[in-house]
């Protein structure tokens, strides 16, 4: 299944290939543009590897079902876009609270509300981190090519299994629907969760603040709840220390491991005066513009977070003292702006483009030239 070799496929299909390669055995979803192709591909591929596919009655049911399936021990995923992603927020918090590994692919489209259903946008970045109520952390990945739809979906499963968190692959309609070469390698690194053999084991956290996960049907008498609970699952909503230690650990297991999770691509940053930061679809013309600017003798550099949350905070802080200006081309009025502005402050020239279209190399190059004057 998904044999090694070269393919020419669209991004959504590559994500489905990645999921199958990662060992996903359960998918529940609901049709939505521009993510339906992932759902359709999973419907076709999963039975062939002995996996289960369900089309549910809505997106709330879809994320509920994949959390249930994850507790039965299966790697589980759903795929959606803005409106469906909004509906899933409560249970993303539930997955974080119960430390359930799941993967959610959000193929972003232009919002708010129904917006432009088939046009790309990057407006879900803050939602992907803060969309559910209360304090929690997720991991959010940002593919910018068909290859990365494959690679980062696999990585999403590995991270979900390692840290027992919901992991979001934040794609967009451009990357999801584009067709490019995909190379499926011979060997793919796959991480499987540590399965607890006793209830006691589920209460012992390693240095990453993660404990082995129980599995329904193994006789552990698991008590899983979205209410505040002690390490053994016992609900305890009245003791301040229980809430404090639980929520701090949920946040710290990402914070403490962030240097292992952070991932980015960079180019020409050593001597850059002007740093272009971009992610997802808009990072493609951004990189092209930086290469063109260099040819014109402008000292431009390029930074692309492949993991948006946790952000490459330390690297950005290192670069902050050397660069004079930072340009952030993205398909949203807000997008990643707050995170970049937090570090580069007055040096940031935000370059939002809304309308459901990707900024062009020319547009970004023009901005770089202006910044270099």
């Amino acid at each position: 299944m998904i044999s090694p070799g070269e393919y020419f496929v669209e991004g959504d299909l590559a994500a489905a290939y990645g999921a199958i390669k990662a060992g996903c055995l359960f998918f529940a979803g609901y049709p939505i543009t521009p993510a339906s192709e992932i759902t359709q591909a999973m419907a076709e591929l999963l039975p062939r590897v002995g996996g289960k596919f369900l089309q549910m009655e809505d997106e709330i049911a879809s994320i509920s079902a994949i959390i249930g399936a994850s507790w039965a021990g299966l790697k589980s995923m759903t795929a959606t876009s803005g409106p469906g992603f909004s509906l899933m927020q409560e249970n993303i918090g539930y997955a974080a609270m119960t430390e359930t590994p799941i993967v959610i692919i959000d193929v972003q489209r232009a919002g708010p509300a129904i917006g432009q259903a088939s046009r790309p946008a990057q407006g879900d970045i803050m939602q992907s981190r803060f969309g559910s109520h209360g304090d929690y952390e997720t991991i959010v990945l940002s593919p910018n090519s068909v290859q990365e739809m494959f690679d980062l979906t696999i990585k999403a499963f590995n991270l979900a299994e390692t840290y027992r968190v919901p992991v979001i692959v934040l794609s967009d309609a451009e990357v999801g629907h584009m067709m490019e070469r995909l190379i499926v390698p011979e060997n793919v690194e796959i991480v499987n969760r540590r399965i607890a053999k006793s209830l006691q084991e589920t209460t012992i956290y390693d240095e990453s603040l993660v404990s082995p996960m129980g599995r329904f049907g193994d006789g552990l008498e698991l008590m899983i709840t979205g209410s505040t609970h002690r390490p053994d699952g016992t609900r305890d909503t009245g003791t301040p220390e229980v809430q404090e230690s639980l929520v701090k650990r949920l946040v710290n297991k990402i914070e403490k491991n962030r240097e292992r999770i952070e991932n980015w691509e960079e180019m020409y940053t050593d001597d850059a005066d002007i740093l272009v930061i971009s992610h997802g679809a808009s990072s493609r013309p951004s990189k092209g513009a930086v290469i063109r600017a260099r040819k014109e003798g402008i000292k431009a550099g390029f930074l692309r977070p492949k993991v948006l949350w946790p952000s490459p905070e330390k690297r950005m802080k290192e670069l902050e003292s050397n660069v004079k200006k930072v340009i952030l081309p993205e398909m949203s009025l807000r997008g990643y702006k707050m995170e970049v502005e937090r570090i580069f402050r007055g040096k940031l020239l935000h370059m939002p483009k809304v309308g459901g279209v990707v900024p062009t190399v020319e547009e970004i190059l023009k901005k770089i030239r202006e910044a270099s004057l």
């Binding site: 409560e90 129980g214 609900r235």
Partner: protein, 261 residues
């Protein structure tokens, strides 16, 4: 003979419970335990799923099996994923009337339609009790609740009939007065291949009783006198559906075998 000590030692995580004095939830916990015990199913093969509300606490924390205490209205959707992922499990959802038919009504309909082999025990006390006695989809017309202080202007849902129409394999309605029938019914529901649904009218002395000016004994007597197999509408109890038809997880397994060839 099942003694209370036997039940506590084998099936209950801890007591005393947090239920109000006179609440029907303890009786329903008792009925579920007796059904599992009669069937001699290994506890590790049973999974309980619940949402939010008083009745969600029947399995979590009290029933000593793997339990998933989920978000409000969604236990049936979580249970569907769990069952499909591991068909060996006997998955029992315990849900209130607000949880199952208000916020979660969509999931109930579709679980019945797809005939997924889980059991839903819906505890119906006619209002939202945990949040303070507000009107529910099951509250009778003109009944007073904390959010219908002048009487309910809307009308109630006959849930069992809706679930039967949606395609469930087994549907029954009992009250907490009809304990023996309820236990036998839960046994049948657990062993039923397809989607099984049991509605249990249960007393909430704290909110429902206050509004009706009845204590829990009077409410049980009301169940005894008013709810009969030959009664009409919501007062009709008994088995409404008991059929065999293809079940979702089995159909999926068959499809996988076909496709893998």
């Amino acid at each position: 003979m099942i003694t209370s000590r036997y039940i506590k030692e084998n099936y209950v995580r801890r007591l005393p419970s947090a239920f109000c004095p006179g609440c029907g939830d303890g009786q329903i916990l008792n009925a579920i335990i007796r059904a599992i015990d009669h069937l001699k199913i290994d506890r590790k093969d049973v999974a309980a799923v619940s949402g939010i509300g008083c009745s969600a606490w029947i399995p979590s924390p009290y029933l000593r099996v793997d339990s998933l205490h989920t978000t409000h209205g969604r236990p049936i959707a979580f249970a569907t994923g769990l069952k499909v992922a591991n068909p060996r499990l006997k998955v029992i959802v315990v849900s209130g009337d607000g949880d199952a038919t208000g916020i979660g009504g969509n999931h109930l309909l579709h679980a019945a339609r797809s005939n997924v082999g889980i059991t839903v025990i819906m505890v119906n006390n006619g209002l939202y009790a945990m949040t303070g006695g507000q009107v529910a989809p099951t509250t009778p017309h003109e009944a007073k609740t904390t959010t219908t202080p002048y009487g309910n202007p809307a009308f109630s849902l006959d849930v069992s009939r809706v679930v039967a129409a949606a395609g469930a394999s087994y549907v029954a309605r009992w009250t907490t007065w009809h304990m023996n029938q309820l236990i036998r019914s839960i046994e049948k529901a657990i062993m039923k291949k397809g989607f099984s649904f049991i509605e249990v009218l249960s007393q909430c002395p704290t909110y429902e009783g206050r509004m009706l000016n009845m204590d829990h004994i009077q409410m049980l007597e009301w169940f005894k006198n008013k709810f009969r197999e030959d009664a009409d509408g919501i007062y009709k109890i008994g088995e409404f559906v008991d059929i065999e038809k293809p079940e979702l997880t089995e159909e999926l397994e068959k499809m996988i075998e076909r496709v893998k060839k």
